[in-house]
Symmetry: D2
Subunit: 366 residues, 4 copies
Amino acid sequence: MRFSRPKQPWFVVVLLLLAGVARAEVRHPIHFPDLPDHKTLACDLHMHTMFSDGQVWPPVRVAEAWRQGLDAIAIADHIEYQPHKDDVPTKLGRSYELALDGAKTANVLLIRAAEITRDTPPGHFNALFLDDVKPLATEDFVDAVGAANKQGAFVFWNHHGWKGEEKGRWLDVHTTLYEKKWLHGMEVCNGDSYYPGAHQWCLDKNLTMLGNTDIHEPDLRKQSAPGDHRTMTLVFAKDRTPEALKEALFAGRTAVWFNNQIIGRPEWLAPLLDRCLRVAAPHLRSKDALWVEIENVCDVEIQLDRVGNVGPARLALPAGTISLVKIDTPTPSEPLELAYTAANFLIAPGKGMPVTLRIAGETKPK
Amino acid sequence: MRFSRPKQPWFVVVLLLLAGVARAEVRHPIHFPDLPDHKTLACDLHMHTMFSDGQVWPPVRVAEAWRQGLDAIAIADHIEYQPHKDDVPTKLGRSYELALDGAKTANVLLIRAAEITRDTPPGHFNALFLDDVKPLATEDFVDAVGAANKQGAFVFWNHHGWKGEEKGRWLDVHTTLYEKKWLHGMEVCNGDSYYPGAHQWCLDKNLTMLGNTDIHEPDLRKQSAPGDHRTMTLVFAKDRTPEALKEALFAGRTAVWFNNQIIGRPEWLAPLLDRCLRVAAPHLRSKDALWVEIENVCDVEIQLDRVGNVGPARLALPAGTISLVKIDTPTPSEPLELAYTAANFLIAPGKGMPVTLRIAGETKPK
Amino acid sequence: MRFSRPKQPWFVVVLLLLAGVARAEVRHPIHFPDLPDHKTLACDLHMHTMFSDGQVWPPVRVAEAWRQGLDAIAIADHIEYQPHKDDVPTKLGRSYELALDGAKTANVLLIRAAEITRDTPPGHFNALFLDDVKPLATEDFVDAVGAANKQGAFVFWNHHGWKGEEKGRWLDVHTTLYEKKWLHGMEVCNGDSYYPGAHQWCLDKNLTMLGNTDIHEPDLRKQSAPGDHRTMTLVFAKDRTPEALKEALFAGRTAVWFNNQIIGRPEWLAPLLDRCLRVAAPHLRSKDALWVEIENVCDVEIQLDRVGNVGPARLALPAGTISLVKIDTPTPSEPLELAYTAANFLIAPGKGMPVTLRIAGETKPK
Amino acid sequence: MRFSRPKQPWFVVVLLLLAGVARAEVRHPIHFPDLPDHKTLACDLHMHTMFSDGQVWPPVRVAEAWRQGLDAIAIADHIEYQPHKDDVPTKLGRSYELALDGAKTANVLLIRAAEITRDTPPGHFNALFLDDVKPLATEDFVDAVGAANKQGAFVFWNHHGWKGEEKGRWLDVHTTLYEKKWLHGMEVCNGDSYYPGAHQWCLDKNLTMLGNTDIHEPDLRKQSAPGDHRTMTLVFAKDRTPEALKEALFAGRTAVWFNNQIIGRPEWLAPLLDRCLRVAAPHLRSKDALWVEIENVCDVEIQLDRVGNVGPARLALPAGTISLVKIDTPTPSEPLELAYTAANFLIAPGKGMPVTLRIAGETKPK
């Protein structure tokens, strides 16, 4: 019975009965290292509540994000699609207001957002960092996007490969937005879907890559585990603030975590991968082999295919573990540089990220 | 076959890993056997949605119940407590209407219900099997319970040990209801709480025992696992219909599944326990010992303490497993009857259910 | 400290410290239904111990089998390959002797066996149900198989696709054994490998199909879970005895459980599948659709592809769960028969088992 | 994107499932931070193999240790107790030899050891860092311990509370060893047992505290998870070498990880706890409360009881998670120091470690 509960954010008081002891709910950190000059923020910038076609009261989205280790979320309820309105009268922007207190308490960055929702074409678009959702409720689609831009919003095209005959096509209306600089990014991944077309366009047109859940139901996950996590956007921001997040999104400093893949530009995947992999000095050397431990400190399994001649043909390095690697080569006098491709760090559709494993030479025995 | 394997360290040998394919959500059955003349229905008869102080849209409750293997649920939104009403105007009984289609599709019995919500005393009361919630919205508490009874409702006192100075006390108003035969049951368990006082009153006053979640947030469980399940009421009904469920509740044929305990009257716990335990014939006999396999086919670990002289002093039989039991006794000519108490099958506060383990004699060797 | 422990079988000794309470180890049943006239026995008939090139003391194999729900095992230590012999002097058949007491206590059927181990060709062969291993230690390979047959052994060809240039080839020596009726089965699966060639030969030459682990290291599994189980042979035997197991193996009444697939002859897969699937009567009918619950009571996900015109194109029914299936068809006056193929019940390489889902007609509403 | 989803029941919507691919075994790191001047080495210094009364071939112990993240192990087979000797002729020290290659490859420190095994009294004693086991095989017990010390061995008393009438008693023979400085430590924990008496003696007599598994069977754990780990000794060593390990053991720089408790001297528990807990600056301040995130980066849940007046009465901080803590106090001008006891960091039997949580003051707002 929690009659008086709503007055304080509920994720603080939800207690588990575990082996007969009541416990507070906890936050499970996501493990992606920060970059040298940037913090790595885990973000889900597309989700719904009761105030459009979602199934939950807005603070639930904060609680889910908190326990799963997210840094920032945006509730982007549909402006035009309001299937619950007979029971829940339309109040644009209301989900943000209802979720804000909890977000402050939980130290989750909450971004005011909305989804501009039209049939395909043109499709659905999210606007983030709004001051006020209402001006976006205009009849003409381009006007709506313009109203968002007038507020300095970051606008991205959602699940572009979804539904309708024109799905996945870049049409005049998109060119219009693009030329006005009113379109800043695309969802390369939405929920369980990956759109290679959107991926390629982001590269060709210099748009920011995003991956989000677009979740409508409650999220049952207690944590973002390597094998069962949200589709999310990793944003490389100068600080953990809404302002820094916005700057990073406009600057295109993102990667998408989707189904054990990291999708992004090589300039951000290179330093990320570099910090995820820890290659120890060889601990054993025989006449014609070296033994090395390689640790993967991040939450995705790193899948390496050999490009050069030395090293195992294929290495699968599971998240959060250490692998024992035998390299069939005589002990070199110089450090070894093994050329690999990280097959699941995608820098273009179907194209993995090149990576070099540096193995210390004889002069630095362990 | 790894004939030549020992030449290289075996921990390099490859194992299985899991990768992704999309699939439909499924229902996980709850494992409590039916009784000889009754079906065992798993029921949660107290939960909330957006339409009072809950956090979810009503069909979420059906989806949770379906995937966790429940047979019946009652959404009992508060009549008087409507903290969301500025956003969701009060519509008594609306949560039932919105959940009904999904319940029919999912084959979950949905019971129209409401929670009559007053400060303690008198406290909170659920009314089930209503035709119409609105007549219960009257100022006087006793009138409200009367209105429910006029509709033939089953009425029970919720979480009686919750909140206020008068909590957990049986007062004149309760006697009034009881004497009018307007009060039919009590929650012995609510969420993470067990109320021994309510337990005793149910025995003394012949009230039906219930256990419910009173859940407000989304339920994250994918299934009702032995170690992590809802608090629920097992109802022993003649059929899997709302009518049979109602008959069984009025007749008091229930047990409560709470935190690895089953709480109920001995007349129902005896046949339930009898069907949960399967004692095989001894498969090995020595001069002074027998070996027997005992299977526990239900979802609670059964914890047995020896009462007699023969058999292990204590047996913990985990859910869904088979235990190997050594009985230190010469092979008997007659079947053995071992007297135990099932410590976690409570027939009164602190009192376990007596149970006899019957071991086949020599004449029935395996 | 268990100084005096070896005198009684160790798997009886309490092991786990769980939530501060010591508990006995338990057996986790495997869930495959018995057939109308046969018991379904879960068997692993190829494994190793210290007495050839394995890594464990023989009773460990019994303990593993018991906790994982197996009915029968055969320790088939290599006769000729004895890499530990400097430390463990060769004693043919000794592993059986050391494991026998524990097997009796644990009610696991232990089959005396050995592996006749030669380079390919001819390869490795297991002989089961031996009276004495020693006579098989002869120089000539055919003589060794003959010595096994003289004892009435059931002989099968192991991992025929393993190692050497001649691997996976049927040569004169195999014809010799076959024509003498000295070769009775083949491993269609061994550990993580499936051999389609062996599968086809079993069909063509009427040999019994087997699947085994050939395990050398300790088996870390606590139970045979659907997603992580041993490769094993399901034997459909008239009773749970060594004699009945032998009769069933010679009669070819087996199926192999391998990596979420069941491999076997249609005469045994048909009744097995029939008992694994429980199709309820429709619980909801609309003008143009039916809703049905289908339960899968066994430990493999059943993967169905539609052959006919009615029903979902594809159904994945996870182990131990109930799926909700919508069938787009007007309510029929007659029962519906939906034609599917169980894609992962293989009756030949690449060929699934045909199966009919029978849906009750209007006359039998629920 | 599930824009049109509400029209059909959502629980039909597809989810992710996992299917198989082969992979190498991995090492799962244990998470205890290094101390400022010392590395934290995870050690299990008491285990058995086939060469005494264990159930596994020696390299199995290395594989177990490697995958579970241990830094060092000692196989301490009984010298005098050789129940397998009819099958495995006694070879003192042979288990070390057989395990050594694998240990080098896996980068696990393997310590040559033996268990001097006599009835109680005097009981069982482990000798580590031996050059040769054979000289310890002498009839007189004190001579055997002397022979170990002659080799510079570290000697500790095992499971002193185990078995016999004299169990758990400090007798003349122990005083003899102690006065000769031939006894250097005691097992405070062995497997599932904790010995408060041994704990107190280690404090009183300045003996090193150890905790080990004394495992005989295969260890089924894939990793040392917070809720299911080996009993082990954390050794605070100057380097990750056998020599540094030995120095640290003689110097008494250890703690025992046992059943979600850390047992040790305050001089080592203080810096360990300090590095396990990360108290962030308050991220939210109201008129009369602060909100703070506290991360626990180690593998034990840290259980804090308040000693002072400010802060929650009890905090349970699960392993590897972040807890959200509300502190009911007006914003202070100075940093807050909250006095707690870490109830499960034992510095004496029944006595928790005092700890101060430092909360940044107003001058450092986030």
